[in-house]
Amino acid sequence: MSQGYLAIVLHAHLPYVRHPEHPFSLEEKWYFEALTEAYLPLFAVFERLLADGIDFRITISVSPTLAGMWQDEYLRHKYKGYLERLLTLADKEVERTANDPLFAPLAQQYKQRFQEAYRRFFRQYDGDMVAALRRLADSGKVELITCAGTHGYLPLLQTQPEAVYAQVTAAMDQHTHLFGQPPKGIWLPECAYDYGIEQILREAGINYFFLDAHGIGYAKPRPAFGTYSPLITPSGVAAFGRDEESGKQVWSKTEGYPGDFDYRDFYRDIGFDLPLDYIRPFIHPDEIRLHTGFKYYRITGKSDDKEPYCPNKAAQKLAEHAGNFMFNRERQIEHLAGVMGRPPIVVAPYDAELFGHWWYEGPDWLEVLFRKVYYEQTVFSPITPSEYLSLNMPLQEAEPSASSWGDKGYHDVWLNQANDWTYRHLHMAAERMVKAAADFPAAAGIQKEALNQLGRELLLAQASDWPFIMSSGTMVRYARERVEDHIVRFNRLLEQIYNAKIEREWLEKLKANDNLFPHLDYRSFAPKNTTAKLAAWH
């Protein structure tokens, strides 16, 4: 009998970065890299665990922008070209390193990995990541949840609760459509919560969400079990808190596993190291050097002197780290179970893209961890949040604190001098969208198509990724333009709708380009008698 539970949550998200208007797009490359290095290897891990009868549990939040890109024919086609180029480079690398005893096996390994990605995506899955994930979910060991529509930063959109509601329902509808049933839980973008959001989640039919540790820790009244039990929020939706200890072991750049000196270094890449003549076809068409994915060195230490990567040593290390993580959870859960007198839940959420992309060994670590947890200990069991809630343990009622998992713990990253200008446009557009939904309650034909597209432009403008990138200081122009583009298209379309002069040809272009949420219904923005607006009065 388990003394407690471990819920590992992977948050899979990339912004909607589909750019048919450019032959080469750096942003699409993020997506292709995440597919090749993170999502496909992670799916492979879960398939192997299932095949071997390992009783594991994982919760995956699939952001609707990511799912939308998975579904997109244009991106599937373009991914093929990306992988084919990568495989050409792999052949060149195998040839180039043939006489190098240290690098030859690494080049071979990369070639195999990229071949495997190609085989899995195009042959095994027939390009359909959603179907592959649905099969995993059917096993009952993988729980799929959703995220807000375009990963909007909800606390800063709440001046129009309808906008938050529409973010949530767009996500719910897409999830239900793609995965066959509505999600029980939601990953709030950036774990960001503000008072009243739980009301909107309730209205949308969500059972649970997650908060950073202090979102639960600073709940009112004080939560008896801390983050080791979910709370029931005033609306009846459960809130799980992130465990600080297990978070730090993986996330922390200084103390976390991914920084181990034996692990593969992310930065040293042949895209930067090899002569331009050799690498030219595989980098930016303007000859800007980029990551290619061929990285031959290990982290080694803090200096720039890097030693060759040794896969065997890294494999040893990741097994040690998996054992260490398990050991720490055993001791933690034993202790908590004793103190609490009931089984605690330890919630460990991570960005899915960390596994495999940034932390090369991450997917293997996760696989070894689940195998060890299954075979080598009896203190705790992996669990999904839904399963935990169905244990029907009494849960304390409390109101969480506004919070996020971003730098400084609140809304700073998404609200500062680099990005605060966006909100006057986003709020105005949201207000006008709500009004338009009220003014045209039963639109039909082209008017309805235009109103639905209006909703898409608003949602795309609201992505938290744009203010995040503005804060981080690189690629700022891209993020600025994304907000600008969608707001400008929104404003123009709105004018055409009210003037009853919708340009069919232009609307078709918008629909083809900004094509997320094909089933979006503009009426999801209709004014609501929501109590969320009043939450600040407490």
């Binding site: 048919p20 450019h22 750096l26 993020w30 244009y74 800063l156 001046t159 950036e190 774990c191 540790a213 820790g217 600073y218 009112k220 009244p221 004080r222 008896a224 079990f225 801390g226 600080e244 978070g247 730090k248 996330w251 930067f272 303007d286 800007i288 050097r289 103190v339 960005d351 893209e353 992309h357 940034w358 009622e397 604190s401 506004a402 998992w405 971003g406 730098d407 713990g409 609140y410 809304h411 990253v413 605060d420 909100y423 006057r424 709020h427 981080s472 690189t474 690629m475 700022v476 122009r477 600008e484 400008v488 123009r492 272009k509 918008l510 380009n513 939450a535 600040a536 009065w537 407490h538």
Partner: protein
Amino acid sequence: MYKADRHELNAGWKLPGAYGLDRLVLLPKDPHWLFAYWEVTAELENKFRMKYGANWDSAQLVLRIHDLETGGYKEVALDCRSVNNYLQVDEPDRAYFVEMGRILPNGSFISMLTSNIVRTPRNSISAVIDPSWKMFAFWRRQPHSFVYGNSSFEFQADLTAAELFTPETKEEK
């Protein structure tokens, strides 16, 4: 596959500098900071100008930050050209709203716009105890402080930053 062009899709439009509406919007930033932005139309200014005459434009523009629990307020002087401001407040877990107005030479405050209400996030463990729930030992390490932001920022920032190494490639596509 149809290839669209960004400017074609934007149909030559640009972000508007203003929307021609009077509004004052308040956002929470952290337990001690709020952010307010506003738009004041010439029509609204004129309305007050007509009423208060020449004094109006020389009257100090201020934001009054109202504490809904105490009913008290404090004032922050504004530059009349500003369109937003970060506002420091005293209390976490407190409802605030702001009012924009001018202070006439006779000292009276004339309100022009009122914001929405926001409540600041909390930054400490609640003193409110629900007697039906026994408190457990892990709360004894007081003051219990949480480590913030031990998550995505550094990694996510790397995901984008690592792509563009050299300064000259910044901002380029």
